[in-house]
């Protein structure tokens, strides 16, 4: 750990210690707050009885399944719209009309159509993940070096090979950035659906703890969701740097 990152930790740790001292000094009795030590104990307890692990599995399953479906759909549409100007203009109004709908607003419809459970949650997550991938992959395809497209034409690459061998690899660094954005969105939307209605996963775990008047457990879930979100992003950033290096930043693929 460098001196700088150690310095960065001083403030949050200080706040936690101050909060702990204050909570103990005032014998804190609250439905929404708990001292850090109790939160840690609750988190350990939740790991011990496996409840938080089950919840994590359920949430991540829904989030990743939705992310995968949304990415595939968004990528297919984004590439198609990026290649074909005609198609893009035909679909632009439709896309811009559907895109601003908050994914969570689809919950009542999804609930009627699919009922409680994974399927409904996955559908809503997928809807939310389509847009960033679509918009960014469309832009990535459009900004591919025109010379590469001329090379593809001059070599007479068939359309499928053109997409697979030129367009996707050239756009991949930027597509991965879109995927990373969508992964964050997937986790947020999955937990939101669970908090709102779906009796599954980490979101439902928070609601249960809240209704049981266990602020320590509720906050333990919150901390754990934060850790998962942070870890997910770190993993994807590492993957991005490993796979594409600086290419992801410039978007040139070079």
């Amino acid at each position: 750990m460098t001196a700088n990152s150690a310095k960065a930790l001083v403030l949050p740790l200080g706040i936690l210690v101050a909060f702990e001292v204050w909570a103990r000094a005032t014998h804190l009795q609250s439905d929404s707050l708990a001292p850090p030590s109790e939160i840690v104990m609750a988190l350990i307890g939740a790991f011990a009885d496996l409840s938080i692990l089950t919840a994590t599995r359920d949430t991540l399953f829904s989030a990743f399944a939705g992310l995968a479906i949304g990415t595939v759909i968004g990528l297919a549409l984004g590439i198609a719209f990026g290649i074909s100007d005609t198609l893009n203009r035909l679909m632009e109004v439709t896309v811009e009309a559907i895109r601003p709908i908050p994914s969570i607003a689809l919950l009542p419809i999804a609930l009627i159509a699919l009922g409680f459970g994974y399927r409904m949650e996955i559908a809503i997550v997928a809807f939310a993940c389509v847009w960033p991938v679509l918009i960014l992959s469309r832009a990535a395809v459009r900004s591919i070096e025109p010379r590469l497209m001329e090379v593809a034409r001059a070599l007479r690459l068939p359309p499928a090979q053109r997409v697979w061998k030129i367009i996707i690899p050239a756009a991949l660094p930027r597509i991965f950035v879109a995927f990373r954005l969508s992964a964050g969105i997937a986790l947020i939307v999955a937990v939101t659906v669970e908090i709102a209605i779906n009796p599954l996963g980490l979101g439902a775990g928070i609601m249960l703890a809240q209704q049981a008047l266990r602020p320590d457990l509720m906050l333990a879930y919150l901390v754990w969701i934060g850790i998962i979100g942070y870890a997910l992003n770190v993993l994807l950033v590492i993957a991005q740097n490993r796979l594409f290096g600086r290419a992801a930043l410039t978007g040139g693929g070079q």
Partner: protein, 267 residues
């Protein structure tokens, strides 16, 4: 070398040109880039096109490649109208850095042309090795373009074009971005590659010496809009030599003539 010259002679008198521009006019965005250009290139001929920048040299090459379609007139290849790029026409772009796939190795870049031609994957490695050797890049198969010098990258692009087994090689200022020594080396290599394959070449350059040194014929374009201003037959012996050819009285005469032409167009 001799066989190519013989072939040229045999073909030049009788057969129709391999590439023929018939009164080609091209307008892009309301501007006339090329006007009423008529030009025939015989099979096996090495034609160089020179001209001031913005005279439509590169555009003419793109018309020959089928990347552009003329607004009026026709571009024919083997007496067939060109409607789209063809496998037997390969184009070497000036900006090799943009024309190569940065995520593929040298072998992978050559392979792309073989894949496009539908060669089975089992046969590719041997052919790739042979092509890389032909352009002087043996042992560099595993390198990425970013790990290669400009000259090597341009050789690689030429290897990819040769993988198409082209009847016609179109070259758009291929050595414009290279240093003088690398450029001379590549000029001689292109001459011997072309002599060996018997391919027709249209070579665009802004370097007048290069045009005379390489070509059987040099065409100078006039700008705004692009049209033919001068046409010179280069009757210099082959194989050409960097020292003796460039000192040849005929070379110097052509050079003077071409310089005067370019000077006049710039005024």
């Amino acid at each position: 070398m001799a066989s190519a010259a013989k072939r040229l002679e045999a073909v030049s008198g009788t057969a129709a040109p391999q590439i023929a521009f018939e009164s080609v006019t091209l307008q892009l965005g309301g501007k006339t880039i090329i006007e009423n250009l008529s030009l025939g290139v015989r099979a096996g001929e090495f034609l160089c096109i020179v001209g001031a920048s913005g005279c439509g040299k590169t555009t003419a090459l793109r018309l020959a490649a089928g990347l552009y379609q003329p607004t009026s007139g026709k571009v024919n290849f083997d007496s067939q109208p060109m409607r789209e790029p063809r496998r037997e026409i390969a184009i070497v772009f000036q900006d090799y850095g943009k024309a190569l796939l940065p995520w593929r190795t040298a072998a992978g870049n050559v392979s792309l042309a073989l894949e496009a031609g539908g060669m089975p994957s089992a046969e590719r490695p041997a052919r790739i090795e042979e092509l890389l050797r032909t352009v002087g890049l043996p042992g560099h198969a595993g390198k990425y373009p970013s790990e290669m010098s400009g000259g090597m990258q341009q050789r690689l692009q030429i290897a990819r074009c040769l993988a198409q087994e082209p009847k016609t090689l179109l070259m758009d200022e291929p050595f414009g971005a290279l240093d003088a020594m690398t450029r001379q080396g590549l000029q001689d290599e292109v001459l011997s590659l072309v002599a060996a394959s018997g391919a027709t070449v249209i070579f665009v350059t802004h370097d007048l010496d290069e045009a005379i040194y390489l070509g059987d014929r040099v065409i100078g374009l006039l700008p705004h809009p692009g049209r033919i201003g001068i046409e010179l037959a280069v009757n210099l012996p082959r194989p050409r030599d960097q020292l003796s050819t460039r000192e040849h009285p005929e070379f110097l005469r052509l050079r003077r003539q071409l310089f005067d032409f370019i000077k006049a167009t710039e005024q």
